[in-house]
Symmetry: C2
Subunit: 343 residues, 2 copies
């Protein structure tokens, strides 16, 4: 038995996350059995969409709600194998899996997790940092790549708007579109983020959504309209996109961070009829549903990452016990790039 | 000069259409000039979407609003050529065009109307009735066919729900899906319509949306869920579909009759996030945008129509002066099948 600490949910948060909705619990981790490995987790992921599972019921069709008073299954994590009783894994191997927000985990090899994205696998920490496999070479990269290329169906000449562009997914979307030669409009929620997107990434037009009525800000940034909207926000952002999209435009509906903490259902955009009028496509998706595109994504993003063409800033929070607070900060817009916890 | 009567809009209606929003006006129609034909109109079309143009401003990207005190351009119509100064057209020819809601029209050959669907063309009234080219072999057929096959991307095994199924488009969608071997759920708004859909068309499950909470009615009709929703209604119908759609389901957003008369923007569905959770696609479209599929549509529907496999009931209103009232009846749900006016 190995002593370990793990984060449990003890009460489903209402609105903003609070510290006493969570507890750090000491547990004994059993030894690995046949087909299992014992992993010492080093890095674990903080994702906006975790908020959807911090409820009595997650949205229908989505990953299940996190149970109270139990380890949180289905959070991307990387670590080092301590003990292996599974073929293909040896002590010292770096691995990625989905048994997150805890110090040690026993993981069954081959068992599907997070729709396949979180199934136990070895990672190459010579090629990229171990935490990159939680972000740019993990779920964020897959979500950005599949969403822009396969969900939105990016085509030559498309003008792209991405919201929450200083977030883990948005940063990759913006740079991927830019590297492919598109005009890229990006929005975010603070002067620092805007400065980074404009000055460091050289995007074509950037704006802070606090700066005025969203439709006007967008019209100024993209006076000719847009062809693709990569939606991380929902709500008023989606409505503004519907107004700005040109005929045959497309929305990759990735997430709706503006609604995740809402206590009651949030009405949809009141201009949805524009989808009919302009032959628009709105396509919702989960990055994990495109796990068969992971190799393709890596073949595109990994070389750019290695060559320094793809910037990938991180907000690193030290200490497992700060994971809930890191998530609260992310949901408030108070993190930058990919947010990870160094356990 | 030919004496003619035509319907004008004299005031944009608020909510329900009223008789005094329209006037029947006597005009003199000029003779055809080079490249034009003079047509004696016989049949003209009544379509729910005309309501969108009976406003100060039509939705952005849609066909323009009808101007006040002028003939209504962009309404599908069939008639007989009286005088021709255009190549390929001779007196006595039956033609379809878009200069509707009037007795006589001078139409320029080759001039694009209604996105191409209403451009002047000869029709074969041996093959089908002249009014069929306003409906099953016209815009309704194209909208139904392109929407189900190309917008929703109908695939083997799909369970299909179509709303407003006793309407011009819905009837074709329901039968097309059924003839292709799908399980078809249909909804409408009166006992007569329901009886027809169930007993005459033999659809798999039908319900009157007045019969209870829509999600419950739909769950009863399609306990395993649906894969395709052909939306003619919007509002609560779209929300119910989002809840019932299975992963990777698709919505062909054809229209939103529930919203056409609204004075203020109508909020969208409050469960749009389900599109993300279940990888759903919502695709708006206008039948007229698929005019390049017209031959394909005719090659599928015309043989079924000829062989009596495709039923196509009509509500025929006699007299041009009743066109506005026919539209009001259609918008109230008080017509059945394709609504046409015999001028």
């Amino acid at each position: 038995m190995t002593a370990s600490r793990e984060v449990h949910v003890v009460a489903y948060p209402r609105g903003e996350l609070r510290g006493d909705d969570f507890a750090v619990v000491e547990v004994e981790v059993p030894e690995a059995r046949d087909g299992e490995v014992l992993v010492r987790n080093e890095w674990t992921s903080i994702d906006a969409a975790l908020r959807l599972r911090l409820r009595e019921r997650a949205p229908a069709g989505y990953f299940a709600a996190f149970p109270l008073h139990a380890a949180l299954d289905g959070i991307a994590t990387t670590g080092v194998v301590v003990e292996s009783r599974a073929d293909g894994f040896a002590p010292g191997d770096w691995v990625a899996h989905a048994a997150g927000w805890r110090e040690y985990a026993v993981v069954e090899a081959g068992r599907e997790a997070l729709g396949g994205v979180g199934t136990l696998r070895r990672i190459d920490v010579e090629a990229a940092s171990p935490q990159a496999y939680l972000g740019v070479l993990g779920g964020s990269g897959l979500t950005a790549y599949a969403g822009l290329v396969h969900v939105a169906g990016l085509r030559e000449g498309d003008v792209v708007w991405v919201s929450a562009a200083a977030g883990s997914v948005g940063l990759i979307v913006a740079q991927l579109a830019k590297l492919r030669g598109h005009r890229v409009v990006a929005s975010a929620g603070s002067p620092d983020k805007i400065a980074y997107l404009r000055d460091e990434l050289g995007l074509d037009a950037v704006f802070d959504y606090h700066g005025g009525p969203l439709p006007e800000l967008l019209a100024e940034a993209a006076p000719e309209g847009i062809d693709v909207y990569f939606d991380n926000v929902g709500g008023d952002h989606l409505a503004a996109a519907l107004a700005a999209l040109r005929p045959w435009g497309r929305v990759a509906m990735c997430g709706a961070i503006s609604e995740y903490g809402a206590d009651a259902p949030v009405p949809g955009p009141d201009n949805l009829f524009l989808a009919v009028a302009k032959n628009l496509t709105l396509r919702g998706f989960r990055g994990s549903s495109y796990v068969d595109r992971r190799d393709e994504m890596e073949s595109v993003l990994a070389p750019w990452l290695r060559d320094g063409k793809l910037a990938y800033p991180e907000t690193v929070v030290a200490g497992l016990e700060h994971a809930p607070d890191a998530l609260a900060r992310l949901l408030r817009g108070d993190t930058f790039g990919k947010t990870v916890v160094r356990i």
